[in-house]
């Protein structure tokens, strides 16, 4: 079972690097969707598919996995893509940034996470994946970088989505068998949903020229 989890977690790190290195907003959103899909499978890999065949928490686990999948891999990416189309201009996420530099920074963050995971945290118990904490921290740090460095509301939301995926991975690693962990993760998704609503409703209907005082950080600024 450890092998499956390792593969999934490596995939999570790979997606982090991809998101950090692509300038295309659509590609970033689709990569987030893929990461959501991986995350939905993660509880099954960490706890073993045995949870699906017996025990009293079967229904709970299935529902949690399903909710994670629907939110992280379907609903949020769908609305992100919609917000992107509505804003019209956003083909390039951060044209001003050097993408090589961004990729380099993300790679450094991943390396840092492995170092922190090895030095600061106690060794994982036998049988659990040693990649859990580094992968989660890497995702968290890359997400933090994207959120703080994001020039538009949309890139900030994408960054936040990556950040909370990192929290989800670490939660799975340290407290995987508690269903509460997935539920709290879902509640973080609610925050993302509210942000998206704000992007779609509040910033989408801003009158032209209304963005003069609050900077260039408006996805809708050019379109409406």
């Amino acid at each position: 079972m450890s092998l499956d989890a390792d593969l999934l977690l490596l995939l999570v790190i790979g997606i982090d690097l991809f998101i950090g290195s692509t300038g295309r907003l659509g590609a970033r959103i689709r990569a987030c969707a893929l990461q959501g899909l991986v995350l939905a499978a993660l509880p099954l890999a960490i706890q073993g598919t045995g949870v699906l065949t017996g025990g009293e928490r079967v229904l709970h686990t299935v529902l949690a996995v399903l909710a994670t999948f629907l939110l992280k891999a379907v609903a949020i990416p769908y609305f992100l893509l919609r917000a992107m189309r509505q804003s019209g201009v956003a083909r390039e996420a951060e044209p001003e940034h050097s993408l090589h530099l961004s990729l380099l920074l993300c790679a450094v963050l991943v390396g840092l996470s492995f170092w922190i995971g090895a030095v600061m945290l106690p060794p994982p118990e036998a049988g659990s994946s040693p990649l859990g904490v580094p992968a989660g921290l890497a995702t968290l740090l890359v997400g933090l970088y994207l959120t703080v460095g994001g020039r538009t509301e949309l890139t900030q939301v994408i960054g936040y989505l990556v950040l909370e995926n990192g929290v989800f991975v670490i939660g799975q690693r340290v407290l995987g068998e508690f269903p509460l962990v997935v539920e709290l993760g879902v509640l973080l998704d609610v925050l993302v949903a509210v942000m998206l609503m704000a992007v779609l409703v509040a910033f989408g209907h801003r009158p032209e020229g209304g963005s003069a005082g609050d900077g260039a950080a408006t996805p809708a600024g050019g379109a409406r």
Binding site: E153, G166, R206, G213
Partner: protein, 487 residues
């Protein structure tokens, strides 16, 4: 215990009612009625909770001395602010600018905000505590952008974004702490209950607990407005409608700081009481005071001025906790909440009467708007720590406890910062009070409802500065005991 459930369910029940009421006036009346009802329930609960913790829902809900003390402040400030909301929005409700749909939005978010803050205080489950903190962000972000104009939407967005990052880090800290608890309990106890965390604290590895606490401190510290994570605060508090600003400044920041302080004894338990977690609060406190001093000096918008002043006071409370003056820090929490609430009430009235919040555009304050002007002057004097206000007493206690604990450098820095803030905070207010009235400035008579709203809390502040009633000192001691008492 059923009362504890009632405390939570009354505001929750008010949310759908507020969303369905037929008129803006009815919603505002419900806000007052609901807040008074909750205050009544709290008053019935607090005395027994101060004696020994009250539990409900298995062990999921708990009201102990620390949360009971904070609950008292929450219901007090919320009650006054609800009455003030009735006065503040009353105009708009009559002339149509505060319409039915806006009022419903306000009422629902107002009670959602109250319910989530109560849940923060009564959660024994640290996962639920986190959920409640997240809900406070959602409900208050809605309140900040009530007017839905570009500046308030922008402020609301910054608030939501920064606090969401904070709350995600706090969740990570919660996971790390509970994960560590799980490895030492072997499934015998729930790793999410605070009472169980306290029981197994001494067996947890200090390194893991410290790492978790760092995330919790930065995460909830963002919500508390500790510098350098305070950047959202002036915008949100400045753009929100005034009753909302009063609650945001007066009690939401306390709730966030309460969430941090909940974890202090857990860390202490695992590190063997070496004071590491408390010491960590000192630099955050000092930086907050310094940052506030720097920004207050250049601020002319009265509401933003008060918002930066909140950064200062949250810093003082954190510093007080860090220096070992737990009782003093808790007393300061009360003093700041009440004085800040009144200061916002007065600024709200002034802004309404004069059509501006710019301190340079208002003059002759003591003549043109006597009650609000004098009220603001007294409230700001109290906030600046002038004797005989209770704020002066609590700041004095913090300095005394700091010196007794041998933290001379920190105390000197604190007093220096407080002195600078005294000057820069009073300068614009005194300017408004003694400058001649500007041309075309109206002379405004206070309304009857303003008198109790402004005079009662201020009288309380002065009274507490001169005399400490037994029940309050008792409550302070018991609440401080939860945090390990005076070290």
């Amino acid at each position: 215990m059923t009362l504890l459930w009632a405390l939570l369910l009354v505001p929750v029940a008010c949310i759908p009612i507020a969303a369905l009421l037929p008129s803006a006036q009815a919603v505002l009346a419900l806000c007052v009625a609901g807040a008074v009802a909750v205050a009544g329930i709290a008053a019935a609960l607090i005395p027994s909770a101060l004696e020994s913790p009250v539990f409900a829902g298995g062990q999921q809900l708990m009201l102990d001395a620390l949360s009971a003390y904070n609950l008292g402040i929450v219901v007090f400030v919320f009650g006054f602010s609800s009455v003030y909301a009735l006065r503040y929005f009353g105009h708009g409700a009559r002339d149509g600018t505060f319409g039915r749909s806006k009022a419903r939005r306000f009422g629902a978010a107002w009670f959602g905000f109250l319910a989530s803050m109560i849940l923060v205080l009564v959660s024994n489950n640290v996962g639920m505590l986190w959920v409640a903190m997240e809900t406070t962000t959602l409900a208050s972000a809605l309140l900040v952008c009530l007017d839905f104009d570009p500046p308030s939407v922008r402020a609301s967005w910054t608030y939501l974004m920064i606090c969401s990052v904070g709350i995600a880090l706090a969740l990570l800290g919660t996971f790390l702490l509970c994960g560590e608890a799980r490895t030492v309990t072997n499934g015998a106890e729930s790793p999410f209950l605070w009472t169980d965390l306290m029981r197994v604290a001494s067996r947890m590895r200090p390194g893991a607990v410290k790492l978790a606490f760092l995330f919790l401190l930065v995460g909830y510290g963002t919500k508390a407005g500790l510098a350098p994570m305070h950047t959202w605060l002036p915008d949100a508090h400045g753009q929100a409608p005034t009753p909302v600003s009063a609650v945001l400044s007066g009690v939401l920041l306390n709730c966030a700081l309460y969430s941090i302080s909940r974890f202090l004894p857990v860390v202490e338990g695992s590190t063997g009481g070496d004071g590491w977690a408390f010491r960590l609060l000192v630099p955050f406190g000092l930086v907050s005071i310094g940052v506030a001093a720097a920004f207050i000096a250049h601020e002319h918008d009265l509401k933003r001025l008060l918002a930066y002043c909140s950064v200062e006071h949250i810093g003082i409370i954190a510093l007080g906790l860090g220096l070992g003056g737990t009782t003093a820090a808790l007393f300061h929490t009360l003093n700041h909440s009440v004085s800040k609430m009144v200061a916002f009430f007065c600024v709200g009235n002034l802004a309404h009467d004069h059509g501006t919040r710019d301190s340079r555009a208002i003059g002759g304050l003591l003549k043109t708007s006597r009650l609000a002007g004098v009220g603001l002057l007294v409230a700001v004097l109290a906030l600046a720590g002038t004797p005989p206000s209770s704020t002066f007493m609590s700041e004095l206690w913090i300095a005394r406890d700091g010196i007794a604990g041998g933290h001379l450098a920190a105390v000197v820095a604190f007093l220096l910062g407080a002195a600078v803030i005294f000057v820069v905070l009073l300068r614009p207010i005194l300017g408004m009070a003694w400058a001649p009235a500007k041309e075309g400035q109206p002379t405004v008579r206070a309304r009857a409802v303003d008198w109790p709203l402004i005079v009662l809390p201020l009288a309380l502040m002065v009274a507490l500065g001169l005399w400490m009633p037994v029940f309050l000192s008792d409550a302070l001691t018991r609440a401080a005991a939860v945090l390990g008492g005076v070290r």
